[in-house]
């Protein structure tokens, strides 16, 4: 099995879905699991057929969007005899709570499963400001 690969999480304001002019494609909502850990949340999404190269993961404001493009694995001349799933892309987005530290989100992709680690933001520490006497000038 392939080693998990790290995926850069983009922080930007662009439209997460690439606009391409080609024939309409199926778009599916991938099933996900989310569980809590002591450090935050872990999300898994089933994205069969999506590789690290065809996955886009973005955080915009407080919205996490995943978009995975799927390329057909069979040659175009293959004649379908029996079809239980249609080949299409995956899209889903999530609203992140303020508890999540947006800057420290990491993601890996293994065998068509995306894992996103959403760490809890550290408690805001009170910063002590030292008050120094004004240096005497003279």
């Amino acid at each position: 099995m392939a080693e998990p690969e790290n995926i850069p999480v983009e922080h930007q304001n662009a439209d997460p879905v690439p606009q391409e002019t080609e024939e309409p494609r199926f778009l599916f909502t991938p099933p996900i699991d989310i569980y809590e850990t002591s450090d935050g949340l872990v999300l898994h999404a089933d994205l069969p057929g999506v590789s690290i190269k065809t996955l886009e993961l973005q955080v915009q404001d407080n919205k996490l969007t995943l978009f995975g493009r799927v390329h057909p694995v069979v040659p175009p001349q293959a004649r379908p005899l029996h079809q239980e799933y249609a080949v299409g892309d995956f899209l889903r987005s999530f609203i992140l709570s303020d508890e999540v530290d947006h800057e420290r989100i990491t993601a890996t992709m293994t065998s068509g499963v995306l894992k996103v680690v959403l760490p809890k933001a550290a408690q805001i520490k009170l910063r002590r400001i030292e008050v120094n006497p004004e240096p005497s000038t003279g």
């Binding site: 809590e36 089933d46 694995v73 065998s111």
Partner: protein, 148 residues
């Protein structure tokens, strides 16, 4: 955004409406796109001039955990999908992905050269090549005149 309204609501219903709104808005409407209620894994079968191709969506599986058996025109695939170990059930906020053991048996329309079968597993998609075997020649059956 209000997504539920009575035709003519009374004041007494406002709280109720708000509650229904709250419940409905917590339902993820994107769920409609989720392909639930299907057999796991979903498989497709394709035909090419010299082979059949079977594909199955098995995200998160390991190649070594997938078993393939071919015999008597039936292809059996089975395996198990386990979850991250040691995560107690109550820690899940969402659980939509399939877990557990699975098995599918599919009938293959023609003779297959069993020894030529190959399978690959990439990005959670299993692809099985089933090369078509020699077609047996149609056998002529003589009909002889019955003798009384």
């Amino acid at each position: 955004m209000p997504v539920f309204r009575w035709g003519h609501s009374w004041d007494a219903f406002h709280d109720f409406e708000r509650e229904v709104d709250r419940l409905l808005s917590s339902v993820n409407f994107a769920f409609q796109g989720i392909r639930l209620g299907r057999q796991y894994p979903s498989v497709n079968l394709y035909e090419l001039p010299d082979e059949y191709l079977l594909t199955a969506e098995l995200p998160g599986s390991k190649a070594e955990d997938i078993e393939l058996e071919m015999g008597s025109g039936l292809l059996k695939i089975k395996g198990r999908r386990s979850e991250p170990n040691g995560v107690p059930e109550e820690r899940y906020r969402r659980q939509e992905r399939f877990r557990g053991e699975w098995e599918r048996t599919l009938s293959i329309p023609e003779r297959i050269r069993d020894e030529g079968m190959t399978a690959e597993f990439v990005d959670g998609i299993l692809k099985v090549h089933l090369p078509k075997g020699e077609q047996s020649q149609p056998r002529r059956i003589r009909v002889s005149e019955g003798s009384d």
